[in-house]
Amino acid sequence: MPLESKRRFIDYFKNFNYEKLGSLIALAALFIISGIANPIFFRPLNIMNILRQISYVGTIALGMTFVIISGGIDLSVGSLMALLGGIMIIVINQFGGNVLAILIAMVVGAGLSVVLGFGTGLLITKGKIAPFIATLGTMAIYRSLVLYFANGGEYRSISSIYPKIGGGKIPLGESFFIPTPVIIFFVYAIICHIILDKTRFGRYVYAIGSNESAAIYSAIKVDRVKTMTYMIVGFSVFLTSLMLSSRMNSVSSTSAGLGFELDAIAAVVIGGTSMKGGRGWIWGTVFGAIILGIINNMLNLLNVSPYLQGAVKGLVIIGAVLIQRKRS
């Protein structure tokens, strides 16, 4: 290797943030261990299953990454997911369940998600309410509305085309296919990465999360940037809601999206994004989501009681944060 490129190669690793590398190493290790523990794990069908399962919470987690890096948090994502799903199904049924109805529902869902995100942003920036409290409030409100509209029951779509969105798959060869949610998840991850890493907005998100005061002294419109992060997480919730409600063709007002906020936050944190803000990356969140998916999958394959799975997940989260602490 010529000297210059060798030096650059070494520099790359010197500069490499080990907070970041951590989640990648954990993922690789988990992958190998799982394969050894149970060879079924490596089957393409199983892998695709894992990826499909994680794409729902994973997509929300991608949006959550922006919020957390900017120093905030959004607890309302699970309830919002149910609310948007419910409303979209109401709209679909209202307009007869055809393609047009679905398009209208999507526009309504996407629009509403962004508007609600904007509202949350205003509460936090102009109302000066701590993000935790503000979204704790919206979380309760959204869930209550979902329950109220369905009277505690279920939203059922009458459309026969709607399930093709979330349940669709793109075949690759004879017995191999990629589910649409997986494609949506990864394409969305690439877009999020570009926004976070290569745009002004993304740079500002980091700056605000790390030192809000310095951001103000750099002529950054802090309130606007913060509000936009909540709009992004809102839109991410819309994507998940679309994928999940269409796959089931229904939304349960009591159980849809329950605990999603915690899983999404867990994925972000395991991926090496700091809860204090200012540090983090999109691919870490992708890795974090996959790690959570693999753990679930393995515990199932190994016949571990589902009641214990929460404990394992908890340990992984705590372990991940401990490692972050050590580094900083």
Binding site: R200, R203, Y204, A207, N211, A214, I216, Y217, S218, G278
Partner: protein, 499 residues
């Protein structure tokens, strides 16, 4: 028993490679008040923090009662009988006065707190300090700064220490409280307490201290018996440095006014400030801490809401409502506190520099190559010492950090550069470089405002000096009038001029 109680020998200290203390030896005796004077950044506070266990020396020994001790933390120092009253207040605002006084040494009765006893003791201590009117049950938050300082002193007194360190205790006190404090110091002296008294007020030192050690740029310049030394001699020892070499030749301003500020007001902080700045001029703002200089500058550039005030740029009435407006008009502000406001410590050098001007680097996405090239230019220009430009700024020394902030300010391509404490806490070499830079900056008709609490800096750099006190401009000094004495007389309100 020997009278010497504390001896520090050959203390050295460096922060991230910047040495701030050089081979300092100092000692304290029972019943002695030992003054420690020096300019800002001379190393007084650092030295005292080492003796009180808040900082560890890079090398050197500390002996108490002739036995070497390792003061690894403040608790250890406390056990050795050392207490420090800090310059910055260290009270818990949400706790009551008595809770603060007994914080960490609560009086207990079995498992529970003996509140009544603590309140009673607090009353006694406060009475000793002549502060009967402070209610031990009051929240500290509700006290004035001066009263808070007295509570801080009460807390230290209650320790019954053998060695008491006071770091600029009077900076927030009125004359009356200062008098009481001095009476108390004399009593403590009678009881055999060794007191280190840090100050830059020569008069006080002369009044209260027995011996005085002068520090300059991290070195001991001398130890003097107070009865044998005059204030002037002490002042010379303090400043000492050959100022002529340190500062570049003063520029010659043009006649045209670049910016005029009329009746700028910020409620409670800035009162009717009006001034003009000429092209090619370096205008200094002097005053005591809290005189409203920073607030004035922040209001000017739109970082702080102003109640009223008009700004004319090149004769044209302009409106600055936020920092973005100022930026567009070519006004750049270097904040006083670089870690809090100037830098994003988690970010690398490149990203810090371009944070204020990212719009210049936008194609569809950020042009990182162009950013890098620009950062390299600044590294050359300011001689920024770093591993590489991707290094996070938290790992740079204070001087190099300041160079990064300065680069950032220049990114705006300013016509007017406002520098708030541009050399606070940085080494002499970098100071020199920054002074050279300022002189070069104004050469081609650009202008600079320097806000500084370091009088020598103001005196050495500026064409004209405005002195502020309690939010108002109280004097305008030019040419020969720009000297330490004049500035201090106006800043402290001894002399008044109708400006």
């Amino acid at each position: 028993m020997s009278k010497t109680i504390l001896r520090a020998k050959k203390i050295n200290k460096d922060f991230a490679g910047v040495q701030v203390l050089f081979d300092i030896s100092i000692s304290g005796e029972r019943g002695q008040v030992h003054g420690l004077i020096g300019e800002n950044g001379a190393g007084k506070s650092t030295l005292m923090k080492i003796i009180a266990g808040f900082l560890q020396p890079s090398s050197g020994r500390i002996l108490i009662d002739n036995k070497p001790v390792n003061l690894k933390d403040p608790a250890m120092a406390k056990r050795m009988g050392i207490t420090m009253i800090h310059q910055e207040l260290n009270l818990v605002e949400d706790l009551k006065v008595y809770e603060n006084i007994f914080l960490g040494k609560e009086i207990k009765q079995g498992m529970l707190l003996n509140k009544r006893n603590m309140i009673h003791r607090s009353k006694e201590i406060l009475k000793e300090l002549g502060e009967e009117e402070i209610d031990p049950l009051e929240d500290v938050r509700n006290l004035s700064v001066a009263k808070k300082q007295m509570v801080e002193i009460a807390r230290a007194i209650s320790e019954n220490s053998r060695i008491l360190i006071m770091d600029e205790p009077t900076s927030a006190l009125t004359d009356y409280e200062t008098e009481i404090l001095f009476k108390l110091i004399k009593e403590l002296k009678q009881k055999g307490v060794c007191i280190f008294y840090v100050s830059h007020r020569l008069k006080e030192v002369k009044e209260i201290c027995d011996v005085v050690t002068v520090l300059r740029d991290g070195r001991v310049i001398g130890e003097y018996d107070v009865s044998n030394v005059s204030e002037v001699e002490l002042a010379n020892a303090m400043v000492g440095r050959e100022i002529k070499n340190m500062y570049p030749q003063k520029p010659i301003p043009k006649d045209e006014v670049i910016i005029e500020v009329k009746n700028l007001n910020v409620p409670g902080l800035v009162k009717d400030v009006s001034f003009q700045l000429k092209k090619g001029e370096i205008l200094g703002f002097a005053g005591l801490v809290g005189a409203g200089r920073t607030e004035m500058a922040e209001a000017l550039v739109g970082l702080r809401k102003k109640a009223s005030g008009e700004i004319f740029l090149n004769g044209e009435h302009v409106y600055i409502n936020n920092y973005e407006d100022a930026k567009q008009l070519g006004i750049s502000y270097l904040p006083e506190d670089r870690k809090q406001n100037g830098l994003v410590l988690d970010m690398n050098i490149v990203n810090n520099i371009t944070l204020i001007s990212l719009e210049k680097y936008m194609k569809l996405l950020i042009d990182k190559k162009k950013e890098m090239e620009k950062a390299k230019e600044y590294r050359e220009k300011f001689d920024i010492r770093c591993r590489d430009l991707f290094q996070e700024v938290r790992y740079l020394s204070g001087g190099n950090q300041q160079k990064v902030v300065l680069s950032k300010c220049l990114e705006v391509e300013p016509q007017i550069l406002i520098l708030d404490e541009p050399t606070r806490g940085i080494d002499i070499n970098t100071k020199y470089q920054i002074y050279q830079f300022i002189a070069n900056f104004v050469k081609n008709g650009k202008s600079c405002i320097v806000i500084s609490s370091e009088l020598q800096e103001i005196i050495g750099l500026c064409n004209r000096v405005l002195v502020m006190r309690e939010g108002k401009i109280v004097a305008e000094l030019m040419g020969k009038e720009i000297n330490e004495e004049e500035i201090i007389l106006y800043a402290t309100g001894i002399k008044e001029e109708v400006y």
